[in-house]
Symmetry: C2
Subunit: 253 residues, 2 copies
DNA sequence: ATTTTAAGTATCACTATTTGATACTAAGAG
DNA sequence: CTCTTAGTATCAAATAGTGATACTTAAAAT
């Protein structure tokens, strides 16, 4: 049913949410005019929504510049999310153990639509900011995590996702050939892990293994991010993979 | 101006936000009836808000149990917050360095109203879940972070906060005597750091130093969480404090 | 197994909230 | 200094959202 014909749909609330979604990594503070431009909403509607979000504590407002910015309430929502997702509490101790043992950045990635979303990050190296903070979404097909999760899915479901899900070029070396990506997923299916390099960040080796519970196809993976300058792939397989497999097995096993 | 007399205030949006705020560490999934109870809103209003939040991707809905739960979108908001707060990008490399050097849990805490909010956490030890995830708010007066931040404020402002801000009993040993808390803040002012133990968690030593920029009074602190079983206070001061001071100094210096 | 109660869903008449337009003010650009 | 843009405040109109309620489904009690 079209939203506008859905009598339960509250368009005013939806507009308020549009304001929140206008902020991202490239829009860290926004004026009313910029919010109008980014949401397409009418100017007085934006004025009312922003004003209300500010009063309700969702947006901070700089009195001098009159620009809005996300408030601490956005992290409070993350806190509530963390409690609500049982995988988080199960994974965190395992990621901490891994981090202590290996001294490398380790993440929990989860399928989110046709992307993967990083829900936990334990950074160990100074790297790109976007690779150190939670909440980032990346096309699943472009990541070791996405591929290794999909490797656990039924053939039909995996092939359809492989054929239709979006791709994004992260580096000049990002693989965009769907046949080759499919091959990589099939290899991951055989190996039980997926290793990629230079896909989202140059000189990044990414190793992922699926988090498998009793109910079959994975929806999450644990993933290590390593410097391609400090490691080669053979070393990663020999030294890091066994520990990562152990970590993943301990989450839902 | 009372909200209801504020012609720019959008009560429908505010109701939607009330639904979001109903989820917390004790309410990880909620039925419609529970949302009604927790928000005080009328049942059909809750039905419409929850329905719209679900369609807009803010809430997941279990088709079997018909319960709602926070979605990945809540972490996406955290991602946007992280980009918008310049302190995060400045602090993260320093916290990573500290974490690698000391192997202990280190956090970034920020003043948020009359509480402190943990905006970054680099866990190193397996500890209580709520002490390992971002977004938690704790009364500022009850924490080493809050006290050491307030120690940098003008006398009047610090004394007023000390007299009026809320307290919460975290352990049987939590200090609730405002005079003694004031003494602790004054000691922190002299020492340049604040050390507490057993305030929010038993057997936890908490050491905090303020993050001071060019514009005077601090709004943030870096804080280490250590086991009181493994360390005594003298060791913490001798071994950990110098590194922590160095980390804090490197953030805005 | 049956009955009762509670929760969820769908619909409705009504009105108050929200809308988009616009006048006015303030700030920024030229 | 003038013009343009952005922000603010107000308004009449209308429609979106309201709270009540009937109906359906699920859970709890007997």
């Amino acid at each position: 049913m079209e939203k506008k014909q859905d009598s339960l749909y509250v368009s005013t609330l939806a507009r308020g949410l549009q304001i929140l979604r206008a902020f991202d990594e490239s829009h860290i503070s926004l004026s009313l005019a910029e919010l109008v431009a980014r949401t397409g909403l009418e100017r007085s509607a934006v004025q009312r929504m922003a004003h209300t979000l500010h009063l309700e504590g969702m947006l901070d407002r700089d009195e001098k510049t009159r620009r809005f910015r996300p408030s601490h309430a956005w992290l409070e929502l993350a806190y509530a999310y963390y409690w609500s997702d049982p995988l988080i509490a199960r994974a965190l101790p395992k990621l901490i153990e891994f981090s202590r043992a290996m001294g490398e950045t380790v993440n929990l990635a989860q399928i989110s639509g046709d992307h993967i979303l990083y829900s936990l990050r334990l950074p160990n190296q100074r790297t790109h900011f976007e690779a150190s903070i939670v909440g980032r979404r990346v096309p699943a097909l472009n990541t070791a995590s996405g591929r290794v999760i999909m490797a656990t899915w039924p053939e039909h479901e995996m092939r359809e996702a492989c054929a239709t899900w979006p791709l994004r070029q992260g580096t000049p070396k990002t693989l965009l050939d769907r046949d080759k990506i499919l091959q990589g997923i099939e290899t991951a299916r055989e190996d039980g892990y997926c290793l990629t390099r230079d896909q989202m960040l140059l000189n990044e080796i990414s190793l992922a293994v699926p988090v498998i519970g009793k109910d079959g196809p994975a929806q999450a993976a644990v993933q290590v991010s390593l410097s391609g300058v400090s490691f080669d792939e053979e070393q990663v397989i020999r030294k890091v993979l066994p520990v990562l497999l152990d970590s993943a097995a301990g989450i839902l096993g």
